[in-house]
C-alpha cells in the first residue's frame, strides 16, 4: 500500500513535467480587486522570445515552444507572476495591483510593523526613490523625500553629505540594521544596498531612549527572499558634474578702473593713470593682460560614477543578499581632488532547525579622500578662495612659463602650485567593518528570543605631506627668472583613529491573538553598547620632499587619545489591538549613560500611543464604500525621550588634575602641565524631551491615494542653566555649576500625499509633502535683565530660536545734498565718510544716530536648516519608458552676505562683478568733480570692512531665502521582456538623468547656490550632474 501511494504521489509530482512542446494553452487575466478583464497583459514563455498579449476581453492563446515551461505574466502597474505549466492548458489568473501600499511593512524600533497598525509618526522612503539620486552620500539623496525631514546641503565637494534633521530637532540618532550608528556611517552606506529608510518622528522613537530625543533614522539593508531564484543585478551610471553656481569676479580692466574709483572715493586721488587704464582696457601689452582665474582653476565636467553588482535570492531555509559597489567622484578643479568608496554588504539568514534561525550581516567599506596637500586646514579652500583672492591682473606663471610658478600677492592661492607635483599630497582613508550576528529561537510558537552581537571596527588614517617649493619672478630686461619666494615649510602629519564598538542585544518577542480579536504583542530587550576610540597624531618637519616615512628625529608633536563610552538600555513595549480597530502601544526604556555621575546615570523614558481605525467601524461601511475609502486612522502619541549629549565631558563629575593641559617649557625642558579640573559637575543629568503628536492616515481607492497629516509639539526640559538668583561673588573663583533648569520647545506640522494611478498605459506616482518645524526657547531659570532694552534685545524667553538681528536699510543716498540734509549720524563720524549710493539705515529709536539700539529682527537663522521644507515627486511609466522628476524646496531661513559677498576687494583681491557692474560712480571715474551716476550698488571702496555700509548686518545684506529646486530628472527605457528573455535577462534598463538642473530662488543674483551657508559665498556648491546609466538583472 505504502509503496503504491508513494508511486502515486511521485507520478503526481512528475506530471507537471509532462507539458509538451507544441501544447497550446489559453486563459483569461482578471484584475483582482474588481474582477474586470485586463487587456494588454504580457504573457511570456520564460527563457524564450515566445509570448503574446491579452485581448480586449483579457484572453490569450499561446503555443508553447519548450517542455516544462514557466509562464511569466506581467503588466505595468501590477505585480508580475510566474506560473509553472503542468498539464493544465486553461488558466484564469488574477493580477494584483502594484499601485497601492496597503500591505506595506514599516521598519520601526527593533522590528517591523504593518503600516495599518502603526500608531506613531513615521515616514519611509524605499530603494526605488533612494537609487534615483546620484548622490555621494545617503543623506544627499533624501531631499524632499519625506515629510518632516529638514534638508540643506551647503557643501557639494566630492563625498560631501547634507545636513539632515527630523523636524528641526537637532542631529538625529541613526540606527542601521538595529545598531545605533553615527551620521558618517549612515552617509557612507552604498545607497543601492538600502531597502528602506524610516524616520521616527515622535515618541515612537522612545524605544531608542537615551539618544532619541531628536528623532531616529532607521535604515534597513536589502535581504534576499526565501524561495526566490538567484537574481543578479548590475547597475551603473557615469556622469559629469559642474558647479550649480558660483559668484563671478571682474576682469583686469574692471579691477583697475574700480580700484581707481575706490581710491578717489576714499582718499580723493589715485595713482592709477588714464594711460594705464587704457593699456589694461586694450589688454595686449606685456604686463597688461587680464587673467581669468576661474577658467584656469575650474575645469568642469568632473566625472562621477557608480557601479554595483549584487546577487540575492534564497532557498526554503536560507536567504541571502551579497553586493559590491564602487563609487568615484572627482572635483571640478582637477582629477587630483577626488573621493571614492567601495562598499560590500552581505546579509545571510538561515534556519538551522525549525526553531532556530541564525544570520550574519557584514557591511564593509573603504572610503578615500585624496587631493594635493594644500597648506591650511581645508584643502578645498584655497582653490575656491583663489577665485576672489587673486587679482585678474596677476598671472600664475612668471612670464607665462609653466616651469616657473609666479610670486603673486597671496602665493597659497596660486593654482599653479596646488597639484601633487608641487605642493604635496593629502589622503584620508576610512576602512570600516561592521558585523552583526543574530540568532533567533522560537521558544514557544508565540514567543521568540533573539540575540544579537555586533562588532564594529573602523580605522581611519590621514596623511599630509606639504612640500617646499619656490616661486619666481621674471626680469624682461635680462630674460632671467629669479626665485622671489615660496614655501619653505615642509609639513608632514599623520593621524590614526581606531574605533571599536561592541553591541549586545537580547530580546524576547511575544505575539498572540486571543478570541480572534484581541491581538497582543510584547517585546523586551536589553542592550549594551560599548565604544572605544583610539587616536594618535604625529607631526614632523621633514628634511626632504621625497620620502614618505616619518622619523622620530623630524617629529615635533605627538598626541595620543583614548576615549570610552558605555551605555545600557532596558526596553519594554506592549502592543494591543482589538480587531485591528483600536490600537494601543505602551513603550518604555530605562537608559544609563557613562557620561553622568553615578547618581545621575539612569533615566526612564516612557511613551504611549493609540490609534483608532475609523474606517474599520461598521457604521462607516456605507461611507467608505461610497468614497472608496480603505483606511482612515486617527493616531496620537505622547512620550518622553532622553538626550545625554548635553555638552559635558564624560568625567566632568570627577575632581582632580588634567594632565597635559598645557605644554610648558621650563629651562628648555618640555613639561606637561596639569590643570585643576575645577568644580566637579556631578548634578547634571539627561535632557528630557516630551513629544506629543496627533496624526491622521488615510487611503482611498485600494491605496491609490494615501496620505498622512501630523501636528507635533516637543518640549525639552532640563536644559542647562544656572541658578542666577544666588549672587556668588566672582572673587570666590568659581561659579555655580549648571543645572537641568531651562526649557525649550519645537512644534510644527507636516503633510504628505501620494497618488498612484493608471491611465491607459500610463502609470504614475505623484507625491507631495510639506513640513514646518520651528524651535522656540520657552523659559530659563529666573530671567533677569538690566533694562527694558536688555530684555528686548537679549531675552530668549518664549521666543523663536534663530532670530537674525540687524539694521533696516531704507534706501540709498542719491546725492551729497541728500547726505548733508540727513539728520541721522549713520557712520558715527557726522556722515563725513558717506557718498552717494551709500546705505541709509532706519533710526528706529529716533535718537539721531545709528547704533546697536536700532537693531531689529530682520530674518531667520542663517547657518541652519530651513524651517519650511517641501518636496514634489513625479514618476511616470509608459510602456517601456519611465520618467522621474523630483523637486524639493525650502524656506524660512536666511543667507547673510559678508566678506567677499559684501566688501569689494576683500583682502585686496577680486570683487563681485555685480558690485562693479551696477554701482554708484562718477561719470568720469578719474575726475572727482564729475557728476554721480546712480546704480544699484553702493560706490566702491577698497578692502574696507569698517565703513558703515559694510560693518553692520542689515536687510541689504540679508536674504530670507526661498527656493524650489529640480532634483532628479530621469528618463529611462526598459527593454521589452521578449527581447530580454532570449538573453536570459530578467530586466534591462538604460537611462539618462540629471540632478540639480536648476533652482528657482531669490539668491541667484549673487551667484549663490540657495543652500550655501558660508557667508563669504565661496563654499563648494552642489553640482549639476548629468548621468547616463543602466540597470540589468539576470
Amino acid at each position: 500500500m505504502k509503496s503504491s501511494l508513494l508511486l502515486l504521489i511521485g507520478m503526481l509530482m512528475i506530471l507537471p513535467l509532462m507539458a509538451q512542446t507544441g501544447t497550446t494553452i489559453q486563459g483569461t487575466i482578471l484584475e483582482e480587486s474588481s474582477g474586470e478583464p485586463l487587456p494588454g497583459v504580457s504573457i511570456l514563455e520564460k527563457g524564450t522570445a515566445n509570448g503574446t498579449v491579452t485581448d480586449l476581453d483579457g484572453k490569450f492563446v499561446l503555443t508553447l515552444k519548450s517542455d516544462n515551461s514557466i509562464l511569466r505574466v506581467s503588466f505595468i502597474g501590477f505585480k508580475s507572476q510566474e506560473i509553472s505549466i503542468g498539464s493544465q492548458t486553461n488558466f484564469d489568473l488574477q493580477l494584483l495591483s502594484d499601485l497601492g501600499n496597503l500591505d506595506e511593512v514599516i521598519v520601526v524600533g527593533y522590528g517591523v510593523q504593518q503600516k495599518e497598525t502603526i500608531t506613531g509618526a513615521v515616514a519611509t522612503v524605499t530603494s526605488r526613490d533612494i537609487d534615483k539620486a546620484p548622490s555621494a552620500t545617503v543623506s544627499g539623496a533624501l531631499a524632499g523625500k519625506m515629510a518632516g525631514l529638514a534638508f540643506r546641503q551647503p557643501d557639494g565637494r566630492p563625498g560631501a553629505g547634507a545636513w539632515l534633521q527630523i523636524r528641526n530637532m537637532g542631529t538625529p540618532l541613526f540606527v542601521i540594521d538595529g545598531i545605533q550608528k553615527d551620521e558618517g556611517q549612515f552617509n557612507n552606506l552604498a545607497p543601492g544596498d538600502i531597502e528602506s529608510i524610516t524616520i521616527l518622528k515622535d515618541a515612537s522613537a522612545a524605544v531608542y531612549g537615551s539618544r532619541a530625543a531628536n528623532g531616529v533614522v532607521v535604515v534597513k539593508t536589502k535581504q534576499g527572499k526565501r524561495g526566490e531564484s538567484p537574481t543578479i543585478n548590475i547597475n551603473g551610471y557615469y556622469g559629469w558634474q559642474n558647479w550649480s553656481r558660483f559668484p563671478e569676479g571682474v576682469d583686469a580692466y574692471e579691477w583697475m578702473l574700480g580700484k581707481a574709483d575706490a581710491d578717489i572715493n576714499q582718499f580723493g586721488n589715485t595713482n592709477i593713470s588714464a594711460e594705464e587704464l587704457d593699456k589694461w582696457n586694450q589688454g595686449t601689452e606685456y604686463g597688461y593682460k587680464s587673467f581669468s582665474w576661474k577658467d584656469f582653476i575650474i575645469q568642469g565636467n568632473a566625472p562621477q560614477s557608480n557601479f554595483n553588482a549584487s546577487v540575492s535570492g534564497g532557498s526554503e531555509r536560507t536567504n541571502y543578499y551579497l553586493s559590491v559597489t564602487r563609487f568615484d567622484q572627482k572635483s571640478v578643479f582637477s582629477d587630483e581632488f577626488e573621493f571614492n568608496r567601495t562598499n560590500v554588504q552581505s546579509n545571510i539568514t538561515t534556519d538551522i532547525t525549525d526553531k532556530l534561525t541564525v544570520g550574519m550581516q557584514i557591511n564593509g567599506r573603504i572610503e578615500n579622500r585624496e587631493n594635493p596637500g594644500v597648506p591650511g586646514g581645508d584643502d578645498y579652500w584655497q582653490p575656491r578662495f583663489a577665485l576672489f583672492r587673486n587679482r585678474p591682473t596677476e598671472r600664475p606663471y612668471a612670464n607665462d612659463n609653466p616651469d616657473y610658478p609666479a610670486n603673486i600677492n597671496n602665493i597659497e592661492t596660486n593654482w599653479a602650485l596646488l597639484n601633487y607635483d608641487r605642493t604635496g599630497f593629502y589622503e584620508n582613508k576610512w576602512q570600516v567593518l561592521q558585523t552583526n550576528f543574530t540568532a533567533e529561537y522560537e521558544i514557544l510558537p508565540d514567543l521568540k528570543a533573539k540575540g544579537l552581537y555586533s562588532y564594529y571596527l573602523a580605522d581611519n588614517i590621514f596623511n599630509t605631506f606639504e612640500y617646499t617649493y619656490d616661486v619666481f619672478g621674471y626680469n624682461p630686461e635680462t630674460d632671467e627668472y629669479f626665485r622671489s619666494g615660496g614655501n619653505d615649510n615642509p609639513y608632514r602629519d599623520r593621524g590614526q583613529t581606531k574605533i571599536m564598538e561592541n553591541v549586545w542585544q537580547l530580546s524576547l518577542n511575544y505575539k498572540k491573538t486571543f478570541n480572534e480579536k484581541h491581538n497582543i504583542s510584547a517585546f523586551f530587550l536589553n542592550e549594551r553598547i560599548e565604544r572605544t576610540r583610539l587616536f594618535n597624531f604625529v607631526h614632523a618637519v621633514p628634511t626632504n620632499n621625497f620620502l614618505d616615512i616619518i622619523k622620530f628625529a623630524d617629529t615635533d608633536t605627538y598626541n595620543d587619545e583614548r576615549q570610552e563610552e558605555a551605555r545600557i538600555g532596558y526596553v519594554g513595549r506592549v502592543n494591543y489591538d482589538y480587531a485591528g480597530k483600536y490600537l494601543l502601544e505602551l513603550a518604555g526604556r530605562a537608559d544609563a549613560s557613562w557620561k553622568f555621575s553615578p547618581d545621575n546615570r539612569w533615566g526612564f523614558f516612557p511613551s504611549v500611543s493609540a490609534g483608532w481605525r475609523i474606517s474599520e467601524e461598521s457604521f462607516m461601511y456605507s461611507f467608505t464604500t461610497n468614497v472608496d475609502l480603505d483606511e482612515l486612522k486617527i493616531r496620537a502619541s505622547y512620550g518622553q525621550l532622553g538626550d545625554d549629549n548635553i555638552g559635558i565631558g564624560p568625567f566632568d563629575y570627577l575632581s582632580g588634575y588634567r594632565y597635559g593641559a598645557s605644554t610648558v617649557i621650563v629651562d628648555g625642558e618640555n613639561v606637561q602641565g596639569s590643570s585643576n579640573t575645577g568644580q566637579p559637575i556631578d548634578n547634571l543629568s539627561w535632557y528630557v524631551a516630551t513629544i506629543a503628536d496627533v496624526g491622521l492616515d488615510f487611503s482611498f481607492g485600494s491605496g491609490r491615494i494615501t496620505g498622512a497629516v501630523d501636528y507635533f509639539h516637543r518640549k525639552r526640559t532640563g536644559l542647562r542653566g544656572v541658578r542666577n538668583d544666588i549672587f556668588l561673588p566672582q572673587e570666590l573663583g568659581y561659579g555655580l555649576t549648571d543645572e537641568n533648569l531651562n526649557t525649550d520647545s519645537n512644534s510644527g506640522a507636516e503633510i504628505a500625499v501620494n497618488w498612484n494611478g493608471k491611465a491607459g498605459d500610463l502609470v504614475f506616482r505623484i507625491g507631495a509633502n510639506a513640513s514646518y518645524a520651528r524651535s522656540k526657547f520657552v523659559k530659563s531659570y529666573n530671567p533677569t535683565f538690566s533694562s527694558s532694552w536688555d530684555q528686548y534685545r537679549n531675552s530668549r524667553e518664549d521666543r523663536y530660536n534663530g532670530i537674525f538681528w540687524g539694521y533696516e536699510v531704507t534706501g540709498q543716498f542719491e546725492s551729497f545734498e541728500a547726505i548733508n540734509e540727513h539728520s541721522v549720524n549713520i557712520d558715527g563720524q557726522g556722515n563725513k565718510t558717506l557718498l552717494p549710493g551709500d546705505l541709509i539705515y532706519k533710526d528706529v529709536n529716533n535718537d539721531g544716530k545709528i547704533d546697536g539700539y536700532d537693531e531689529r529682527p530682520i530674518g531667520y537663522q542663517s547657518g541652519a536648516l530651513p524651517s519650511m521644507n517641501f518636496g514634489l515627486n513625479f514618476n511616470f511609466q509608459y510602456k517601456g519608458f519611465d520618467l522621474t522628476a523630483d523637486f524639493s524646496g525650502g524656506g524660512m531661513y536666511s543667507y547673510n552676505r559678508n566678506w567677499e559677498m559684501r566688501r569689494p576687494y576683500q583682502n585686496g583681491g577680486n570683487l563681485l562683478a555685480s558690485m562693479y557692474d551696477d554701482r554708484y560712480h562718477r561719470a568720469d571715474i578719474l575726475d572727482i568733480n564729475s557728476e554721480w551716476i546712480a546704480g544699484k550698488n553702493p560706490p566702491l571702496r577698497f578692502n574696507t570692512g569698517g565703513h558703515s555700509n559694510y560693518n553692520k548686518n542689515s536687510t541689504w545684506w540679508l536674504t530670507n531665502v526661498k527656493y524650489l529646486r529640480m532634483r532628479t530628472l530621469e528618463v529611462g527605457y526598459t527593454l521589452p521582456e521578449k527581447l530580454l528573455s532570449r538573453w536570459n535577462m530578467e530586466r534591462a534598463r538604460i537611462f539618462v538623468s540629471s540632478y540639480n538642473l536648476f533652482a528657482l530662488d531669490n539668491v541667484h543674483q549673487f551667484g549663490i547656490d540657495p543652500e550655501v551657508a558660508d557667508e563669504n559665498g565661496l563654499q563648494y556648491p552642489q553640482n549639476k550632474v548629468v548621468n547616463v546609466g543602466f540597470n540589468v538583472s539576470f
Binding site: N489, F651, L654, V666, Q672, P729, G946
Partner: protein, 632 residues
C-alpha cells in the same frame, strides 16, 4: 529518527535560553560596565605624593601668567604709538578714536583660587620632601604676587583673597563679599610677600622658574610703579577713589622709591646677572639679548619656548616679506617713525630724521641707510630700516621712482615692474618688501621689526615656529628701575651711573652727567631700551603721561623726540624713493618722505577713565562691595 530527539533538545535549549534571559535582565553588573576610567585626569592623592606631578601642576600655573603684550599676541603692540599693524584685521587699532574702558582689564579669580588651592594643599602635603615643599610654596606665592601685581596695575586695588574660598550652598553668599583693597595695599602685599619668600628661592640656575632675583625684580618693578603712582598721581587728582582703591597718597612715594632702589641694588649685589655684551657690533649685540638663550646672564626671568615642544608664530608674523619662509603672513609689525626718530644721535642729542633741508627741498642720499647714520645702535637692533640686512640678506624697501615733476612711478605689486619715461623695457619700480599703500603683511610704513624676530632658519615656518623666549625681567630694566628710583630720590649721581651702564652697553661713547638726568631722560631711556617689552602702557600710566601724549588730537610728528610730553597720537611711516632724472647729479640717489599710512584714520585718545579698567557689571552685581573705577 528526528522525532525521538526533538523534545529533549528543545528542553535543553529552553534551559539555555532562560539562563541567557536571566543574565540579560538581572545579571551582570551595570555599574561595572558603566564605570570607565578617564585617561587624562590625575587624582589629588596621586599628585600630592609625587614631586614631578606637583611640578606638573606648578608648570601649568606658570603657564597661566598673563602678559598683556607678548610674542603670542603681537597685535597688542600696535595699540599705541610704537608700531603700525600691517594687517587688515588690525587696522581698527589705528582707526578707533578712543580706547575702551574695558581694555586690558582683568579679574581672574579663577587663577587666584587655583593658586590659593595649590598653596593650601602644598602646606598640608606630607608625602613630598620639605625641601621641595618650601620651594613650591615660595614659587606659588611668587606667581600669586605676579598675578596680583598684574591686577593692581590694570584695575587698581582688588580684593586680596589669600585662601581658597568655599561657598556653603546655604543660599546666602554675602559672607563671601570682600571689598577692594586699597591700591597701595596690593602693592604692599606684593612687596612684603616677595621679601618673605625671596630666601626660599634659589639664586639663579633657572630662568623659567621663580628665583631670588625674580622676586627682587618684582619688588623693584612693583615698588617703582607704586612710587610713581603716589608721586605723579598728584597731577591727576581726579584719578582716585575716596576709599583709596585707586590712588596712592603722595607721602608714600619716597618709601616706595627707596624700596625699589633697595631691591634693585640687591639684584645688582647678587652678582648673578650682568648686561649682555658679547658682540662687537652693538646693534647685533642688542638684538641678541633676546635671541641668545645659552650664554646670557642678563635674563632674570623669561617665558621659554622650545622647538619640538612649544613654539610661537611671532617670526612667522613679523619676518620681512621677502625673507619669509612661509608663503603667507609676515611683516605685520611696522615700527613707527615716531619710535624710530626717538633714537638719539651718538652725541646724546635728539634730532628728527633729516628728509628736507631748511628751505624744504628734499635731501638726497647715496645709500638709504645714510639717513639713519650716527644714531643709537639700539635702533638697528630693534628695527629693520630700508637698506639694512636681516638673516644676511638685504631687505628691499623702497616706494618707487620719484620723477623731476614730483610724480611717482610705482606698482601695486611687490617688486612690480613698469616702464620709466623714455624707456621701453620694464624695470622694477618698487621694493620686494614694500612699501605699497594698503598692502598688508609688508613694510607698509617703510619698516620692519627686528627685536624678537628669530634669525634661525625654520622659525618662520608654521610647522616649526620660533623658540625665542619672551623676556619678563632682565637686568637692564633693573638698572633703569634703580636709575629712576634714585633720580626720584634726588640721588642723581647714582641715577646717572645706573643709566650710563645701560647706555654704554648700548654703544654710547659719552656718558650722561648727573646734571643731565631729568624726567625726560628717564622716560626716553625706557622707551628705547624697553621698546616692545610690554612696558609702554604701564609706564605711561604710572607717570600719568598717557592722557597727555595720547590726547586724541590729530597732531603731526613731533620735532622734539626727546620730550616726554610730545603728543604722539598717530603712527607715521617713511617712504624711500629713488630719484629719476637722467643727467641730474641726484639721479639714482635716495630721498625720503614722511607719511601717515592710509589705514591710520584717527588719533589715539586715552581718557582719564582708561587709567583703571572697567570692572564688569557681572563682578559688581555679584558683590556690591566692589566700587567702580573713576571717570568712566
Amino acid at each position: 529518527m528526528c522525532h525521538s530527539n526533538k523534545p529533549e533538545r528543545t528542553m535543553k535549549n529552553l534551559k539555555y535560553i532562560y539562563l541567557v534571559i536571566f543574565l540579560a535582565f538581572t545579571g551582570c553588573s551595570n555599574d561595572e560596565f558603566l564605570n570607565r576610567e578617564p585617561t587624562d585626569i590625575l587624582g589629588g592623592d596621586q599628585v600630592w605624593a609625587n614631586d614631578d606631578l606637583v611640578f606638573s601642576v606648578m608648570a601649568d600655573l606658570y603657564n597661566r601668567l598673563p602678559d598683556y603684550q607678548g610674542l603670542e599676541n603681537w597685535w597688542e603692540y600696535a595699540s599705541f604709538d610704537e608700531t603700525f599693524a600691517s594687517n587688515a584685521g588690525d587696522y581698527w587699532r589705528h582707526q578707533n578714536q578712543e580706547y575702551g574702558y574695558g581694555d586690558w582689564g582683568m579679574w581672574d579669580y579663577g587663577l587666584i583660587r587655583d593658586l590659593n588651592l595649590f598653596i593650601q594643599k602644598c602646606e598640608v602635603a606630607t608625602e613630598i620632601s620639605t625641601e621641595s615643599k618650601t620651594r613650591f610654596l615660595a614659587e606659588a606665592k611668587f606667581i600669586r604676587a605676579m598675578v596680583y601685581f598684574e591686577h593692581v596695575k590694570r584695575m587698581g586695588g582688588v580684593p586680596l583673597i589669600l585662601e581658597p574660598l568655599e561657598y556653603d550652598y546655604s543660599g546666602d553668599p554675602t559672607y563671601l563679599q570682600y571689598p577692594r583693597a586699597k591700591e597701595h595695599e596690593v602693592y604692599d602685599f606684593v612687596i612684603a610677600e616677595m621679601e618673605a619668600v625671596k630666601d626660599d628661592l634659589p639664586n639663579g640656575s633657572t630662568r623659567s622658574r621663580a628665583t631670588k632675583g625674580a622676586a627682587l625684580a618684582l619688588i623693584s618693578r612693583a615698588a617703582l610703579y607704586a612710587g610713581s603712582i603716589a608721586n605723579y598721581g598728584q597731577l591727576t587728582p581726579e584719578v582716585s577713589l575716596p576709599g583709596g582703591e585707586v590712588g596712592i597718597p603722595a607721602a608714600m612715594a619716597a618709601g616706595y622709591y627707596a624700596a625699589a632702589l633697595k631691591a634693585s641694588e640687591e639684584v645688582i649685589a647678587l652678582g648673578t646677572y650682568e648686561l649682555y655684551d658679547q658682540d662687537p657690533n652693538k646693534s647685533e649685540n642688542y638684538s641678541n639679548i633676546f635671541l641668545n638663550k645659552s650664554s646670557n646672564n642678563e635674563i632674570i626671568m623669561a617665558k621659554d619656548f622650545l622647538v619640538q615642544g612649544r613654539t610661537h608664530g611671532f617670526t612667522i608674523d613679523n619676518i620681512p616679506r621677502s625673507l619669509r619662509e612661509e608663503n603667507t603672513s609676515g611683516g605685520k609689525m611696522n615700527p613707527s617713525l615716531n619710535l624710530i626718530q626717538s633714537y638719539e644721535l651718538l652725541d646724546n642729542t635728539f634730532a628728527e630724521l633729516p628728509t628736507m633741508d631748511a628751505s624744504g627741498n628734499p635731501l638726497y642720499y647715496d645709500d638709504p641707510m645714510d639717513i639713519f647714520a650716527g644714531r643709537d645702535p639700539r635702533l638697528l637692533g630693534t628695527v629693520i630700516v630700508p637698506g639694512s640686512s636681516f638673516r644676511g640678506k638685504e631687505v628691499d624697501i623702497w616706494a618707487g621712482y620719484k620723477l623731476e615733476d614730483g610724480s611717482v612711478i610705482s606698482s601695486g605689486q611687490l617688486g612690480g615692474q613698469a616702464q620709466l619715461p623714455g624707456s621701453d623695457t620694464s624695470v622694477q619700480v618698487v621694493g620686494f618688501d614694500g612699501p605699497i599703500d594698503q598692502l598688508e603683511w609688508s613694510a607698509q610704513n617703510g619698516f620692519y621689526l627686528r627685536k624678537y624676530v628669530d634669525t634661525s632658519v625654520g622659525s618662520g615656518q608654521r610647522g616649526t615656529g620660533s623658540a625665542v623666549w619672551l623676556v619678563r625681567f632682565r637686568y637692564a630694566e633693573i638698572l633703569l628701575n634703580a636709575a629712576e628710583a634714585a633720580y626720584e630720590l634726588d640721588q642723581l649721581e647714582k641715577a646717572a651711573e645706573y643709566m650710563n651702564q645701560v647706555r654704554r652697553r648700548a654703544g654710547f661713547p659719552i656718558d650722561l652727567t648727573p646734571g643731565e638726568i631729568d624726567f625726560d631722560r628717564i622716560v626716553h631711556e625706557r622707551k628705547v631700551e624697553l621698546a616692545f617689552e610690554n612696558h609702554i602702557l604701564w609706564d605711561k600710566k604710572r607717570w600719568r603721561l598717557a592722557h597727555r601724549i595720547w590726547n586724541g588730537v590729530t597732531t603731526d610728528l613731533t620735532n622734539n623726540p626727546g620730550n616726554a610730553l610730545a603728543v604722539s597720537t598717530r603712527v607715521f611711516g617713511l617712504k624711500p624713493f629713488k630719484y629719476y632724472e637722467p643727467g641730474s647729479p641726484n639721479n639714482g640717489k635716495w630721498l625720503f618722505e614722511e607719511f601717515v599710512p592710509a589705514p591710520v584714520f584717527n588719533a589715539h585718545r586715552f581718557r582719564l577713565g582708561n587709567y583703571y579698567s572697567w570692572i564688569g557689571d557681572n563682578v559688581r552685581n555679584n558683590n556690591p562691595k566692589i566700587v567702580r573705577n573713576p571717570n568712566q
